[in-house]
């Protein structure tokens, strides 16, 4: 992942990490995948839960983060925006 990611890129990377793991991911995997420090990742995760882009739940006694429908829509929208931004290059 790019070392100089902006806030939105980090959010998108987190959501994509969850999506690529069939919509659910363990916190330790997310920490590794998002390439963030633990405290920073916690801040992002809390914000994403608050915005209902992801949700935290227990499955088979283990904690997981799940991608919500709103999160899926955000990833799609972000992809479109990125393509538009890339076409203008501004």
């Amino acid at each position: 992942m790019n070392a100089r990611r902006d806030r939105l890129q980090i959010v998108n990377d987190i959501l994509i990490s969850i999506r690529d793991k069939n919509g659910k991911i363990r916190p330790t995997h997310l920490l590794y995948k998002s390439n963030l420090a633990h405290n920073k990742m916690k801040l992002y995760v809390n914000e994403l839960i608050e915005k209902e882009l992801i949700k935290e739940d227990i499955e088979d006694g283990k904690k997981y983060y799940f991608l919500t429908d709103k999160g899926i829509k955000f990833v799609d929208e972000y992809k479109k925006i990125n393509q538009f931004v890339e076409s203008f290059g501004l």
């Binding site: 972000y78 479109k80 538009f84 890339e86 076409s87 203008f88």
Partner: protein, 221 residues
């Protein structure tokens, strides 16, 4: 300051339709840029929103002026009894069209050349605007300067971006500005033949259609 541009009589009305299509596209691109700004916080897209809003507003004013000229012609031919509005209003609409379009292009230059500082940008705008204002043939000068701004300062940026990212969408953006620049050259030549006006309006609309295709492609994928 303003010299009125006459399109061929058979083209009256068609130019308004073409301009209307261009207006819709500029507003669509403008609002999508604003959406990007709201989501990402990228200031350059807020300015791009302003650019397209100004270009759209310019086209609205140009259509308004065209409507005035169309009715004026019908009045002269005795088809209708009254004019839609006076010459002054038509001239004012054209003057404001020049003003908003130039402002849009100057902001676009500032964006593509990464110019910093509002004072430099406002100075640039004032110099360009005063040059046009004081020129003998203001309207021709406006289109020539717009042609230079687009072709030599804006379009190369989008060409470089296309070469960098090599996507169809970036090619469409580059083509749009190439066609817009070319349309201004044709508008500048309108005093030699009204056919240049017809080609200019069509080229301008095709240019904006490129941006519409870009927007459709973005949403299709």
């Amino acid at each position: 300051m303003v010299s009125l541009v006459f399109s061929p009589i058979w083209f009256f009305g068609f130019d308004s339709v073409f301009d209307f299509i261009s207006i819709i596209i500029t507003l669509l691109i403008g609002f999508y840029s604003y959406k990007i700004y709201k989501l990402t916080g990228k200031k350059s897209y807020f300015y791009l929103y302003i650019v397209f809003l100004l270009l759209g507003l310019g086209l609205v004013l140009k259509s308004f002026a065209n409507l005035g000229m169309y009715y004026d012609l019908l009045h002269k031919l005795g088809v209708i009894d009254t004019r839609l509005f006076g010459y002054q209003i038509t001239a004012l609409a054209l003057f404001t069209y020049v003003l908003t379009t130039l402002l849009g292009y100057i902001i676009l230059v500032a964006l593509t050349l990464k110019l910093q500082g509002k004072r430099i940008i406002s100075l640039l705008f004032l110099l360009v605007f005063l040059t046009i204002l004081l020129a003998k043939n203001s309207f021709m000068f406006f289109h020539l300067i717009s042609f230079i701004i687009i072709m030599f300062y804006v379009m190369p940026y989008f060409y470089d971006n296309y070469r960098k990212v090599k996507t169809n969408m970036a090619f469409l953006v580059f083509t749009c500005f190439f066609l817009l620049g070319a349309s201004h050259l044709l508008f500048a030549l309108v005093f030699y033949s009204t056919q240049f006006y017809v080609s200019g309006v069509i080229l301008q609309m095709v240019g904006y259609l490129m941006l519409l295709v870009n927007l459709i492609l973005v949403h299709k994928q």
